[in-house]
Structure formats: structure tokens, C-alpha cells
């Protein structure tokens, strides 16, 4: 599948935003002064909003994007849109309550955090619900998205705690390391097993010619690349897949963990850890698309 930059940016950045938001509403950062509420709130909204805005960039008609909120009964993309809007409204309400009245009640905090998680789940289901892309159509796909949002969010919390000069416990630092390690652990498993058996479709089943013996493609229906091949026949990454996976793992997991262990107390050190982590997540997300094969490539003679 073609790795569109707008979609890679959207899933990574809004994932980080929702992850951070969930930990914030659960009280992992002490927000006392108005400028703290406003500052952290703006950062969260900026991350989520930038991601969502970016997701509309690849549309043929971005001005009609509001229509995407209508089909939540059947479409995961629509559900994601509706939940993202609800999540942003809930965050605005939560921030206002904190500012004007005081800490919101526990049930509201938990409900808001759950809303963030469900939104990230909906993002992942846009891809995981597609039977045509065997690698995505796997129960671990949503787990990966949720774990990366949670781990990135925790790392961002650690960074904000350092900036705000709030005491950081070793236990929390350890939790960040564990979250990063387990997110990449699940990703490693996903790389091994998701879609390993293909889509179940073959050129024989795709053409109904099984009765004649082995089927081979001898001539494509057009002389130059068409929309289907451009969109769903991306092959560049597969050549470098193992190298890119190592880069993703190193940048997204190894290096941030090392930085947190070495410079745990410094805002600069953790900020750098967060930056390289996101760079690693970008590579991971790029591979998520670039490595995935679509059943239509069978008609063009690719093994599936």
C-alpha cells in the first residue's frame, strides 16, 4: 500500500496526542496554575488537531470532510472522525472544569481516558477491518496502535513533568521504559505473524481458472501504471524491510530508552528521547503501509 505522508503523520501524531491526553486526564501531571493547564492543553490539542487536519490533506475533496461524520453505523473511518471530535470536546470540557471549578470527578477522568483509547482503537480499525490487506487484518493491529499511543504518551508525560519541574519517581521512569519495551515487543510479534498466511486468495481463486492448472499473468490490462498499482502496488520498501525495521526499533525503542536511563532528570534529554521515538514511530508507520500487500496485486501477477 502506498505510504501517504499525510496518513503517516496523522496516525503517529494524533496517536501521541490521544496517548498524552489519556495520561493527563488520569492525573499523571499536576496541573495547578492556569498557564500549566493552558500550556499542556494547547499541546495536546495541537497534536490531535494537526494529525486530524493532516488526514484531510490526502482527500480529493477536503471541503466535504464533514460528511465523513455521518456513517458511524458502518464505517470505522466515520467512527474515528466522530470519536475524535467527541474526544476534543471532552478534553476542552475537562480543561475548563479543571480551570474553573477544580479537578473533575474520578469517573469523568476515567471516561475521558477511555474515550481517548477508543478513538485510537477506531483509527487502527480503519486498517485492521480491511480483509483485502492480510497484514493489517489481524487482532494485534489495534493492540500495536494502542500500545504506541500509550508508550509515546507516557514518554511525553515524563518530558512535561521534567519541564514543569515536578518530581519524577524511578518507578514512573521504569513504567515508561516498560511501556516502550512492550510496545515494540508486540510490534516484533506483529511483524512475524500478522498476515503471514496471506489473504487466502490466489490467482487461481481470483480468476476462477483453478480447473485449468497453474495460472500466470502474461499481460497487464494497461501499458503504464494505473491508480490501482500506484495506490496498492507499492513495492519499494520490501527490499529494505529488515533494515528499516531495525532503524524503526532503534530510533523508536532502543535510543529513547537509553536516553531516559542516562538523562532521566533532564527535560532536554527526555525531549530528545521523545523526538527520536517519534522518528522511529514514523518509520514504523511508513513500513505499516509500504510493506502491506493488497489482494488486487494478485491480478498483476504478484504472489500473495
Amino acid at each position: 500500500m502506498r505510504p501517504a505522508w499525510s496518513i503517516i503523520f496523522f496516525t503517529s501524531i494524533s496517536g501521541l496526542g490521544f496517548g498524552l491526553a489519556a495520561w493527563v486526564v488520569l492525573g499523571f501531571i499536576d496541573l495547578v496554575q492556569p498557564q500549566q493547564i493552558f500550556g499542556v492543553g494547547s499541546l495536546v490539542m495541537l497534536l490531535i488537531g494537526a494529525g486530524l487536519l493532516s488526514s484531510t490533506l490526502h482527500l480529493g475533496h477536503p471541503e466535504r470532510a464533514w460528511r465523513a461524520l455521518s456513517q458511524w453505523r458502518s464505517s470505522w473511518l466515520s467512527r474515528e472522525g466522530v470519536l475524535a471530535v467527541l474526544a476534543m470536546l471532552a478534553l476542552a470540557g475537562w480543561g475548563w472544569h479543571l480551570f474553573a471549578i477544580g479537578t473533575p470527578p474520578l469517573w469523568a477522568n476515567i471516561a475521558a481516558a477511555l474515550l481517548m483509547a477508543v478513538t485510537v482503537y477506531a483509527t487502527s480499525m480503519i486498517y485492521a477491518s480491511l480483509k483485502t490487506v492480510a497484514r493489517w487484518h489481524h487482532p494485534l493491529t489495534p493492540i500495536c496502535y494502542l500500545m504506541f499511543a500509550a508508550a509515546g504518551g507516557l514518554l511525553a508525560v515524563l518530558w512535561l513533568q521534567a519541564i514543569l519541574g515536578q518530581g519524577q519517581s524511578d518507578a514512573f521512569e521504569l513504567a515508561v521504559l516498560l511501556a516502550l519495551a512492550s510496545a515494540w515487543g508486540v510490534k516484533l510479534v506483529w511483524w512475524q505473524i500478522a498476515g503471514a498466511n496471506g489473504s487466502g486468495s490466489t490467482l487461481a481463486s481470483a480468476t476462477g481458472l483453478a480447473g485449468l492448472g497453474e495460472v500466470r499473468s502474461i499481460m497487464p490490462p494497461h501499458t503504464s501504471e494505473n491508480y490501482l498499482q500506484h495506490e496498492m502496488g507499492f513495492v519499494i520498501a520490501r527490499k529494505h524491510a529488515s533494515r528499516l525495521r531495525l532503524i524503526a526499533l532503534g530510533l523508536g525503542g532502543g535510543l529513547p530508552c537509553l536516553l531516559v536511563i542516562l538523562y532521566g532528570g533532564s527535560a532536554m534529554g527526555i525531549g530528545l528521547a521523545l523526538l527520536v521515538h517519534m522518528a522511529g514511530v514514523f518509520v514504523e508507520r511508513w513500513l505499516f503501509f509500504a510493506e502491506a500487500k493488497h489482494t488486487v496485486s494478485i491480478y498483476y501477477g504478484h504472489q500473495h
Binding site: 480468476t207 492448472g213 488486487v296
Partner: protein, 247 residues
């Protein structure tokens, strides 16, 4: 609403005979010709006469080879929307632009609502949908909905453009929901199949596999063998014997 309607009694669709198709591409061209000026935005092309021509087409003809050795067979394979009963392209649509008609099962795109996200094309296992490069909306086979119900056309033209133009009669159009329709009887007689049945899309369109090749001892003797072994009769017998006398 992009939830699927209850399965309709009438299921309009195509039956494509892979035994007959010669891969002439006439259906491809006539489809483009009709649909570029019919339902919705024109089917645009870019660099049409250049090195990298590109454009939206609703019907494409692949060519495959099946079997090995002397039994290998070239199969021309037209592919367009199969108007699936369980169409994944309809349910993934976030706007309601992609829909399946409850009255006859035709899958269409309301181009005024389409945001051009491309998710429906991703969800289609067959690659039946293509984004229009100029208009930014999704294009797909409409089963020539603007022909088949068009009473201003002569009755023989009230069929999809691809069916009307096929010079070998490899394409058939009709109601596959009616077990006694001509197309249903054809499917039953020839063992018509679904493409990628394992994807559970329940396609309406059916494909008729090529008829089995005649057995080897059934094939005509080679011309060389005839020349050597056959005993001529009548006029040719006289020519034969006269030529032999000449030495």
C-alpha cells in the same frame, strides 16, 4: 446510508464467458466512451498520448495463461465491478456516497458526497474502483444505469455499453436474482463461478470458465500425416497414379 440494504430480489449483473473472450478491448473502449459522458464526472485521462498515459477506466482486460505444456491456454479476462451482495466498499464509506441500490443491487457512488478518501478502493479485493485523477472522486462501473433504464434508447441498446459492443457475445447482462433468467440458466449450464469466493463478498457477476479442451485422440490429424497416409479416391486417385507413372 452506507449500511447495506436487505438483499434485493432483482440482482442485475454481468456474466462473462472466458471461453469466448478474445481480448479485443472493445468493451473497455466502449465503456470509457459511454461513461465519460454519462453518469457523473467525465472519466479523465492525463498524458493520454505521452509516455506515461494515465486515467480512470471502469473495465480492464487482463490476460492470463493457465495450465502447462500442450494444454496451456491463454485466457482473456475482463474485470469490472462485480456489484457484490456483501459489498465491503459500501460499508467502509464514511460519507454515505458509496451505496447499493435496494431495488436492483447496483453499487453506485454519489459523486456529490464523495470526499475522495479512497478507502472503498482499498476495501475492494478486485480493484474495481479507480479514483478520477482530475475530479478527485471515486469512479466505478454503474452497470450503465443510465442506459438500462433509458426508454429513449432503442430496446437493443438498453443494456450496458460493454455488453452491447462485444463482438463475440462473451458478455451477458441480466437478472441473476431470478433463477430462470437467461443469465442464471447460462451460469447453471456452464458452471459459472464467483471470483475470490473466500473474500465473502458474494459477487453478483459470474465468470464462465473456458470449456475443457478436446481429448488428444479427438484432435484432427496433422496435415503432414494426411499427406503421407491417406489414400485418395476419384479424380485425385487418377492424378496420384498418373504422377507416379511419371516416375
Amino acid at each position: 446510508m452506507t449500511s447495506l440494504p436487505e438483499p434485493s430480489a432483482i440482482k442485475l449483473g454481468l456474466v462473462i464467458d472466458l471461453d469466448i473472450c478474445v481480448g479485443c478491448q472493445a468493451c473497455v473502449v466502449n465503456c470509457k466512451e459511454w461513461n465519460t459522458s454519462g453518469y457523473g464526472a467525465p472519466l479523465s485521462d492525463s498524458d493520454a498520448y505521452g509516455a506515461q498515459p494515465n486515467g480512470a477506466w471502469l473495465n480492464r482486460v487482463h490476460a492470463f495463461e493457465a495450465g502447462t505444456g500442450a494444454d496451456a491456454k491463454v485466457v482473456h479476462f475482463p474485470k469490472s465491478c462485480l456489484h457484490c451482495e456483501d459489498a465491503p466498499c459500501v460499508t467502509v464509506c464514511p460519507t454515505g456516497a458509496s451505496f447499493k441500490r435496494s431495488e436492483d443491487g447496483i453499487v453506485l457512488v454519489n459523486e456529490d458526497w464523495c470526499i475522495g478518501c479512497g478507502l472503498c478502493a482499498w476495501s475492494c479485493p478486485y480493484g474495481a474502483r479507480e479514483m478520477d485523477p482530475a475530479e478527485g472522486v471515486m469512479k466505478k462501473c454503474t452497470l450503465c444505469v443510465d442506459r438500462i433504464y433509458n426508454e429513449n434508447l432503442p430496446s437493443e441498446d438498453q443494456v450496458p455499453a460493454c455488453v452491447r459492443t462485444c463482438p463475440t457475445n462473451a458478455r451477458h447482462y441480466g437478472d441473476l436474482g431470478d433463477p430462470n433468467s437467461e443469465v442464471s440458466l447460462l451460469v447453471a449450464a456452464r458452471g459459472g463461478v464467483d471470483l475470490m469466493p473466500e473474500q465473502n463478498t458474494k459477487p453478483v457477476n459470474k465468470y464462465l470458465p473456458p470449456r475443457p479442451r478436446r481429448a488428444a485422440n479427438d484432435t484432427p490429424m496433422s496435415l503432414l500425416a494426411m499427406a503421407d497416409e491417406a489414400t485418395p479416391s476419384g479424380f485425385w486417385k487418377w492424378v496420384d497414379s498418373t504422377l507416379e507413372k511419371l516416375g
